[in-house]
Amino acid sequence: MTNIRKTIPVLALMMLATPAAMAQGIMGGHVTGNIQIDGQISHADSLIGASDVPERLLTNSRADILYTNGNFSAGLRFETYLNPMLGFNARYQGMGVPNFFASYQNDLISVTAGNFYEQFGSGMILRAYEDRYLGLDNSLRGLNVALRPFPGVTIKALTGVQRIYWNYNTQGLVRGVDGEVNLNSIITPMAESKFRMTLGAGFVSKYEPDEFISSPEPGYKLNLPLNVGAGAVRMDMNYGNWSLQAEYAHKGQDPSVMNNYIYREGEALMLNAVYSMKGFSANLQAKRVDNMCFKSARNESGEMLYINYIPAITKQHTYAFLNMYPYATQTTGEMGLQGDVMYKIKKGTLLGGKYGTDIHINGAVITGLDTTTIGGAGTDGYTSSWFKTGDLYYTDLSIEVAKKLSSALKLTCTYGYQIFNPIVEGHHGDLHHNHVAVADLTWKINKKNVLRFEAEWMGSDSKYNPDVDDKRCGDWIMGLVEYNFSSAWFISLSDQYSYHDGNKANYYNVSLGYNHGATRLQLGYGKQREGLLCIGGVCRQVPASNGLTFSLTTSF
């Protein structure tokens, strides 16, 4: 590792010193990369839940350095967490080069040795991925091969172990194969058909050595499966304006801390139907998930070592208050339905006006399963009904109308209604009913000066209770002004305030940023709630804090 750390600066200085040589590249190849440095100086604030930071300054940084030469590429990632920023797991503390890989790709084959990210279908049996803002990296270290023997046919095979913070879970082996066929490419008469069809299937197996897990029956231990398999089949069908995607996954007995060591098999079904044409689209999504938590360590209860990924089908909102109560997938069991309609009212009509009007409606309902308990650890756990729903977990309805008022003004108005069950965050309580209204106005004064105003309101029937200490409770208002100038600078001022039934916290924020090419520098001062934040042209996840924050990102 020492050698690698020495190599990076040398490489970097070489690049800087010899731009002429760089244009030719190193040995005919190219070095590219990206760097991100985030930091914060945060002070304790019990009102918003910001904790004391004894080390004063916290920084996360990473640098991805990539070398490509024709079909060959290799890369490494340097990370530091000195110490990890608020919201990141303390086990990240330290620095090093946790990820590296070498890869060869041509028309027929792709081979990667080292760290890789991979996904079979929609990821219901395998998804190795990262989300740097959430501090998640489930990358596999091992060997990943993809073969494309004929056009339209892809076969993947992989084996590896998963990253957990700075280590690798070498006890838990993950092996998988996946195949996908596009029928239009291999069946000649279908080549030009309006009917397009792709079929796929995958299988993943994990191995863990035996361990002692005591049975509720005194004197016995659980007979654990050492190999656990999961398989999935999927299809993607298109005909003219219609398309349909379906995927079904099944998992063998997999007793783990996540399902309280029950032996029930898992399954998941996902359906998505779309009708779309220019200016109009509608889609309907349904899913049912039952005991599908799949990890490479039986006793890992945290957010790491997931082999699979069950996506939430609720809309990913960007406005602060619509995103105040985000929904998290319940991998142990849930059913959901989601509908989405987008419609563009044409220019020159009564409602469309001079520029047209965009309407976007989205709705989702998520419930638990209707289950009957059989027993605890060592048994099948429960039975569930396929079509009956359990408790309501989440309801989300949003209507967005966007309209260009003139060549300089654009207004977007959104109304949202949400019902949120605190059980999805692991605690019992009353359902929260929230109404949200947002007005977002962009005023392009001229080519170099743009102002944006945002006003949000949230009315909720939840009241702040110091015992539960959910700081989101109550009614909220928010205002934001953002000024972009010279296409490079931006400054924004915002405040969120729980004015009624809340804990009266004021989340004010001042932000200053500079964009140049692929480099971006941002400074902020204020109090921040955890959530997805979009300012000055970029969206990112931020942890709760009180004080100064800074961020530098660049790609080269």
Binding site: G123, S185, S281, Q316, S487, N515, G517, C539, F556
Partner: protein, 168 residues
Amino acid sequence: MKRFFLSVICLTLGGIALAQNATLPQNITLKALDGSSVQTSAIQNDGKPIIVNFWATWCKPCNRELNTIKELYPEWQEETGVKIVAISIDDARSASRVKPHVDGNGWEYEVYIDQNQDFKRAMNVVNPPHTFVINGKGEIVWQHASYVEGDEEELIEVVRKVAAESEK
């Protein structure tokens, strides 16, 4: 460590000019909107410039950018022959929304989905939107992260220059 951070700063300042001749990766697999797989080598425009834009359905500035350019695209095409390739980095959660989103907005771009984000990583994209201009030889000649109203003017200026150079 000091040396490392020094280099980081140097790199930041030295930045983009250095890797000017890097080309578009050729063999990364993307999904077309009909569910079939496409290699990045299929991103071609007969020697004319290409704009490669990384976006996501949930990213407001991305949508503002692509909606603004939508109105200008026919003129841009006529003037410079440019083609816009919009790469969605929507993951398993929102990838199924990409087709309805593109059609609902009436976008006429060539759209691919980079669900496993292999292309995003290979192009060193940190946050969407991130826009690249590719010249007729497949070289990455310009890139820009983020979008505010008016950025499209700089983008088309770059495309005009690239188009003029490739005609020489």
